[in-house]
Symmetry: C2
Subunit: 377 residues, 2 copies
């Protein structure tokens, strides 16, 4: 029984039990598919001379981070300081916070982390860079700093070219900071559906990065690292001759939104992540209701897909209910039957769970904690 403090629920499964016995809702990880994905990405990047630094915001699980590093990744990316803290506590010794960190309390924690691991962070503002420098000096630490360049995402980042040069020069003049290169992630291109659209978008981003890199080089500032890319585009950044490091995250799991992309020319990643759910009501011949709603998977990028029930569409999510309706004359699952949903978007779905139930065939092989669940500070 829960106590009057927040704490993770007990795991929904124990090692060795049949999958059929796993409580719902739960995250299931198909280990064969997951391991294949880790190997496939490592192999795709290994021969190219480009480093792999997977984004841990996708899995928030230090067990997965350790496996990515064991397969050849140089470390991980994180989005928040608390996420980086969880990864370092879990044994990862090289972390890039691929994001800006603002405010003295967070920066003090970031600088403290640098005594346990190699830590890098991004900046897109001179005032913020000065604040990072103060935190590094106060901690007696040295931080790698990348200038974030907006290559099309219209989120954070300075414009390519002169503004990036100016900020890089500023960083080079600040104590406690090592200018390490450029962060250049184009998030807005990852889910363009056709390969041609994604190729064209990344070609534009690469050109922005190339111009900026060359401008800095002309002023004697070398970019040891140029980092970016996601699961939807990484083959283009990899082949660019400009990027030195790739940050894909979702490839370990995949999801329904990535499932709607075309993938010609990409290595093949398998769906490994599912939300395990029980049919809790069968109110009409064409409709069933499951116990996994938007508190156990995220619908920001569309509804989940019933993996093993073609013709059964997940049409509506409320907090703790999912309504599935038959699209044709297909069979329907029975009351109490459990089924697998492919989540619409893997990253925010994993963040709703405390545990990942790892499955091989029909058995639970392990239960991994989502060690950075809720780590948004």
């Amino acid at each position: 029984m829960a106590t009057d403090t927040p704490h993770p629920l007990a795991p929904p499964a124990v090692t060795g039990m049949p999958v059929a016995g796993v409580d719902t809702p739960a995250l299931l990880l198909d280990l064969d598919a997951f391991e294949a994905n880790v190997r496939t990405m490592a192999a795709a990047v290994a021969s190219s001379g480009v480093r792999l630094r997977p984004h841990a915001k996708a899995h928030k699980c230090s067990e997965i981070a350790r496996r990515q590093v064991a397969a050849g990744a140089v470390g991980v990316c994180c989005q928040k300081v608390s996420e980086a803290e969880a990864m370092v506590a879990g044994g990862v010794n090289d972390v890039l916070v691929a994001n800006e960190v603002v405010g003295a309390p967070k920066l003090a924690r970031l600088a403290a982390l640098a005594s346990h691991a190699r830590v890098a962070v991004c900046v897109d503002d001179a005032e913020n860079a000065a604040e990072v420098s103060r935190a590094a000096r106060a901690a007696g630490a040295s931080l790698d700093v990348l200038v974030e360049v907006d290559v099309g995402g219209r989120r954070c980042g300075v414009p390519p070219g002169e503004p990036a040069l100016w900020l890089a020069q500023h960083v080079c003049g600040l104590d406690g900071l090592r200018f390490a290169g450029l962060q250049a992630y184009d998030g807005s291109s990852q889910h363009l559906r056709s390969v041609a659209e994604r190729r064209a978008a990344i070609a534009r981003a690469v050109e922005h990065v190339r111009v900026t890199r060359d401008l800095l080089a002309g002023q004697g500032i070398a970019c040891a690292t140029i980092t970016g890319a996601g699961t939807g585009t990484f083959i283009f950044e990899q082949a660019s001759g400009v990027y030195t490091e790739l940050q894909p995250g979702s490839y370990v799991f995949m999801d329904a939104d990535y499932g709607r992309n075309a993938w010609d020319g990409f290595p093949s990643f398998r769906q490994s992540l599912y939300v395990w759910t029980t049919v809790m009501s069968t109110p009409a011949p064409h409709r069933v209701v499951v116990d996994a709603g938007m508190k156990s998977h995220s619908i920001d990028s569309g509804m989940p897909v019933a993996a093993d029930w073609p013709g059964l569409g997940y049409v509506n999510a409320s907090d703790e209910h999912g309504v599935l309706e038959r699209e044709g004359g297909v069979p329907m699952p029975r009351l109490g039957e459990k089924l697998r949903l492919v989540p619409g978007h893997c990253d925010p779905t994993v963040n709703l769970h405390d545990w990942i139930v790892c499955v091989r065939g029909s058995r639970v092989e392990a239960v991994w904690p989502v060690s950075a669940r809720g780590a948004f500070y």
Copy 2:
């Protein structure tokens, strides 16, 4: 620093500190507004002879549940067994799981809970009712059971009339169960924008419930409880002469989606819940980026609203970023400045947080745990 198990992060605030010092992202609760909302709903229901049983899925916080009970609520609703466990552990002694519970493990936990509190649950299927009965008998418990009637939501529930009578008769014949009445919640009406639309929708639901109640009464089956209603419609169920119990949840907080409803004739509820966020990037004169994305608030019902910055629209959310753009020539917040967002949808937003930071004026007065955060089993 986090360890390699899931656990709540440290609270983002301590009692007595200024709000300006609260780490971000964080949930802020304006205590004056919250307390007014609790009082307003209690007063609205007190004189009507109808009971108030607020839905704890909105807040998942036993401190809030205790305050609702202290103000006159008879207990709370929950959506899941684990949510009910957290509320009972937190001192609530009367819980309605306003939902179906399927499967022997969950039902064993529900029946066990009945030795600590009065526990009721819903059914919409004879096979499930038999399963509930077996669990109650195995635990030596007696459970109140309500038949859920679909009054327009097209989610769970049997149709009104004969199917509900048939299932009620079935429940009456099962050991360990007390037939307690009808669950009749019309979720699909809560966000119809005009009061007239909501009134008309609930009039239809009430008619379904009245017919069903009278049919059961004609067969000698009394409905001690007829329960339903949400924040968007409760005045209509309250005045219906049919409903005996109301289940609103969101009224304690309110949100941007409810803010788009018309409210003529309703008691006035104030926005009390905010997501506290920091400007982490100011990349263009018309654009700022904040550190609260969809991992700290839910966008299922639309984007959040910047509470204190009219003319600044939250236009895009990624996992850990929110992009805000100026709609006119309004002033813009500075880098590092903190601001309050009204979340799009309060229930799934609260579920992303471990702590609620309670604020009076400019000071933190308390920090409450979200005791049932992630409790979806």
